[in-house]
């Protein structure tokens, strides 16, 4: 488990390139560095521009002209935005819990009885590979049939389907590091399956459980496509409200919300990057 690992600020890469191989400063190297800085600018500029905009003091979206203001942040606390934020948070937590429980049960079962592992996992991972619009159509069809369009249940169900593959991957990775002898030892000492799962397996895959919940939470919080197909007037999640705000004008409250999201993402990323070795594969 990684939790005990000391934060290391100056780890060297495993594949550190010896000086002799590393190209010395020359024209080609200089050009490629300049090109990469341009690429970095391309990736980061749009994100950095949002931040000053969020402190604008005008009713519309504009850079602060002398006076910085928090008015757009206060808009987020108005009923419309606040109810969307609460709705999205509620959905994300519910989807996170259900998705984690289902993934935990499935991953445990498949770990103990791996006979149809590849086939069954592939079935569960399908919603990740199929284009989101196609999934949205299927979920819309189901919602229309069972009269759950524009309801929290219907939208939440759609979010659950989109979140499950990511949730499951986190669980499968955690179990791939665990030996089944652990299970056999627990059972031979007289513990039932339930006890074994709760007191032996769960503590050993707690990183997987946390990752599973985290992935499902994020997938639900950010879900746009399925939500656009299955929601309407009653369910307006945060992404749905942003979508509406982008289609018709540029709502400055989006800048404030985006700045908050950028900040949270940055903090989580920095913590993750520092906790893993610097050379560890970056990935979702």
């Amino acid at each position: 488990m990684n939790s005990g690992r000391v934060i290391s600020g100056a780890a060297t890469p495993v594949l550190a390139v010896p000086r002799a191989v590393r190209p010395r400063l020359n024209l080609a190297r200089g050009l490629s560095i300049v090109a990469m800085l341009l690429a970095a600018l391309f990736l980061l500029l749009p994100i950095l521009v949002i931040v000053p905009l969020s402190f604008g003091d005008q009713r519309y979206l504009a850079f602060p002209d002398g006076a910085w203001s928090l008015r757009h942040y206060l808009t987020l606390l108005d009923t419309a935005w606040l109810s969307s934020i609460l709705q999205s948070l509620g959905l994300a937590i519910a989807v996170g819990v259900v998705s984690t429980v289902l993934s935990f049960l499935f991953a445990t079962g498949i770990w103990l009885e791996p006979r149809y592992r590849v086939l069954l996992s592939a079935v569960v991972l399908l919603p990740m590979i199929v284009p989101q619009v196609v999934s949205a159509m299927s979920i819309y069809y189901l919602g229309a049939k069972v009269k759950q369009l524009d309801s929290l249940i219907g939208v939440g169900y759609g979010h659950l389907l989109m979140a499950l593959p990511y949730s499951l991957i986190a669980m499968l990775v955690a179990y791939s590091r665990l030996d089944t002898s652990l299970y056999k030892a627990s059972r031979s000492l007289g513990a039932g399956l339930g006890t074994t799962m709760r007191h032996v397996l769960m503590p050993n895959v707690r990183g997987g459980l946390a990752g599973s919940f985290f992935m499902a939470f994020i997938m639900s919080w950010e879900e746009v496509v399925v939500t656009l197909f299955t929601s309407g007037l009653h369910v307006i999640t945060v992404p749905k409200r942003i979508w509406d705000g982008l289609r018709y004008n540029l709502d400055p409250a989006i800048a404030a919300l985006s700045t908050v999201m950028v900040l949270i993402t940055l903090v989580v990323l920095l913590v993750r990057l520092y906790r893993h070795d610097h050379t560890a594969s970056p990935g979702r």
Partner: protein, 287 residues
């Protein structure tokens, strides 16, 4: 605290495992795949039973335009974002620990950020009175604002921005696998830096390029949010046209048919690229 008593027989054990395993696949089959068959049903029965929706897909000039535009934008997105990603991954491969951390940070920050927020940012930058146009006007480089967004160019810029991180990840793992000793061997045998790069390093990263290209192309095919917002309705790709058929024209049959067509295109690409990437990996190793 025995929630479940230990089973007596092997068959009983199997039954308990099945209880653990089956809920999730059953949910997907009944609550996801079955409705997908329902969508197929819609495409064959709305407004009346028959293949007329698929005939429309083949006949309609408007839909043909959308399909060709989708393929064109996806191809351009793939080429541009893989090129940018190769550069980033290359610098990462030969960077110090601190440099690697910085590169990972600026690749992963947009990667984790909602695509809506990124579309918002590009709208802010590229609109007529946006930062880019204002800078160009102030510098006197243009006389009137350029149309940079709410058209095909805007959609392309947004898509490339979205896809670069997805292209970087497979390239990083491919470049990490290139053994330093091969590069040392090449230079000790008298090859210059350029020759080592061209004849040793680049061929070894071909599998990564293939994997990155396949990922980006297949992902781009189904893109909806970014082209819809940054294309401003003028660059509708397949995914957006499904949404338009469903919710603006209330033509459920055609929307369902387009959805089936999109799924078929992605499936074909996934299978073909799967074979090609497997092949490239093979030749990449033997090169």
């Amino acid at each position: 605290m025995h929630a479940v008593t230990p089973p007596k027989s092997a068959q009983g054990t199997l039954r308990i495992y099945a209880l653990l395993i089956l809920p999730l696949p059953l949910l997907i089959v009944l609550g996801y795949l079955l409705p997908t068959l329902g969508v197929l049903g819609w495409s064959l029965s709305l407004p009346k039973v028959g293949l007329q929706n698929y005939a429309t897909v083949l006949d309609s000039a408007a839909i043909q335009t959308v399909i060709w535009r989708t393929l064109r934008i996806c191809l351009l997105t793939t080429v541009i974002s893989v090129a940018i990603a190769y550069l980033i991954a290359f610098r990462w491969r030969f960077a110090s620990a601190r440099g690697r951390l910085l590169i990972e940070l600026f690749v992963l920050l947009p990667f984790w950020l909602s695509m809506l927020i990124r579309a918002f940012a590009w709208l802010v930058l590229l609109r007529n009175d946006g930062l880019v146009n204002q800078s160009l006007l102030t510098l006197g480089l243009v006389d009137e604002p350029l149309a940079l967004v709410r058209n095909e160019l805007g959609a392309l810029i947004g898509m490339v921005h979205f896809m670069v991180p997805y292209a970087v990840l497979p390239l990083l793992s491919s470049m990490r696998q290139v053994d330093d000793s091969l590069l040392r061997a090449s230079s000790s045998l008298g090859a210059g830096r350029w020759q080592t790069l061209r004849d040793v390093f680049v061929p070894l990263t071909v599998p990564g390029v293939a994997a990155a290209s396949a990922t980006v192309f297949v992902f781009s095919l189904g893109c909806f949010v970014t082209p819809a917002l940054l294309g401003g309705g003028k660059a509708a790709m397949l995914a957006e046209s499904i949404y338009i058929q469903m919710f603006q024209l209330s033509n459920w049959g055609l929307g369902a048919a387009l959805s089936i067509v999109l799924m078929a295109m992605v499936a074909v690409c996934a299978v073909v690229f799967g074979k090609l990437v497997g092949f490239a990996r093979f030749t990449g190793r033997s090169a």
